[in-house]
Symmetry: C2
Subunit: 215 residues, 2 copies
Amino acid sequence: MRISELAARTGVPLATVKFYLREGLLMPGNATSATQAVYSDEHVRRLGLVRALAVQGLPLHKIKAVVGLVDDPRDDLFAVLGNAIAALPPYVDPPGDGDYPRARRILERLGQVYEPDFAAVAQLEQALAALEAAGLEMSDRRIDVYGRHIRDIAALDLELLPTASRRATVEAAVLGTALYEPVLTAMRRLAHQHLAARLFAGDGDTSDPIVQEPQ
Amino acid sequence: MRISELAARTGVPLATVKFYLREGLLMPGNATSATQAVYSDEHVRRLGLVRALAVQGLPLHKIKAVVGLVDDPRDDLFAVLGNAIAALPPYVDPPGDGDYPRARRILERLGQVYEPDFAAVAQLEQALAALEAAGLEMSDRRIDVYGRHIRDIAALDLELLPTASRRATVEAAVLGTALYEPVLTAMRRLAHQHLAARLFAGDGDTSDPIVQEPQ
DNA sequence: ATTATTGGGTAGTTGGACTATCCAATAATG
DNA sequence: CATTATTGGATAGTCCAACTACCCAATAAT
């Protein structure tokens, strides 16, 4: 297919497709002449990946890093996965002084290794710092409950990772990390509302147990 | 305290504090004269809240909506909580045609009510659509496991919600929704790495079971 | 032969979030 | 009380990311 069909099929404006090509987010088509190039289903997939990540709020330069890893996983698989995860939001600007005390506390309590070089450790530290700044805390109870359930979820994630090819594994890991997160987030919010509805209904705090929520 | 002390104490640049005042994110100080106003610990807290939400990527107009709810919860508590959650990211632009088939499938399988007016339903639908667009799927197995663990986490969240005052409850609910999410996200990523390290080590896929991950 | 489309490039737009500057009124200080 | 600093209030400017629009000469399509 040619570029305009690629744009039409993915719903991405032509100007934007060209922009992505320029930015290196989308690999060039197979040029058949000076003014013509052919695009494949690979390009459709890639465009879908870019858009999927962009919708989740990933800045383009981070997306570029991710697709770069998907394209060229030269390191060992585990390192590639780590790199990919590190490229995902949230972004922690200052690597800090090398110590993340809040994250360390969590990990030690959960019996996981504390490895300051893991990007997710810095992410956890930042999240915990934000919590503190807002006057909330991470109690032991919460650590234990969150930790247990999250670990079970993570175990399933790994179990369901495809192992057909390294490329497939990397791509699925990156995509899965980025794309199942909002699913979990939305499910948690819905669970809150589901459980809260029962609580409030029992309270008599509101006359109507099924309360509507404006958009 | 005066405005410059407020800025100094929170670490927010003075110009930005003024900007937040103009935008209505921060309530005005108690004016003692034409060129002087006193700010309280309330202002410090509010500034912390605004910053905490901003760091998580919330655009200012959404933050304004959230603090508006915290300030003036005129509806019943459950509706206020729903509104607050609806104001949080991700943002789903098109309310759609009113049906969210993918989200409906999940909720029905989990035995939760499908209420299209809940903002989180649209969020779930969008997340599932992004998954599909990228060629991933939400299997029944995944629904069941995610659903069970997420529900337990949500139950704890509700249990730990303060009930001292309505204001405290609303504020904690909003903050908790926004600020515990990145904690869970980071914990899941760390669990992935923790579990993956064991898997790969057992594989012999890499010579070193403890693999470092570049920044 | 004529019209449409392409790849490639440059420049302009939009929106969000600040940041800088100015000003007249008032506080603080010696 | 004279001088210096700070304040609230407002306006305008900056910076960045992510597009979007336009132009062009070379080819394809009809």
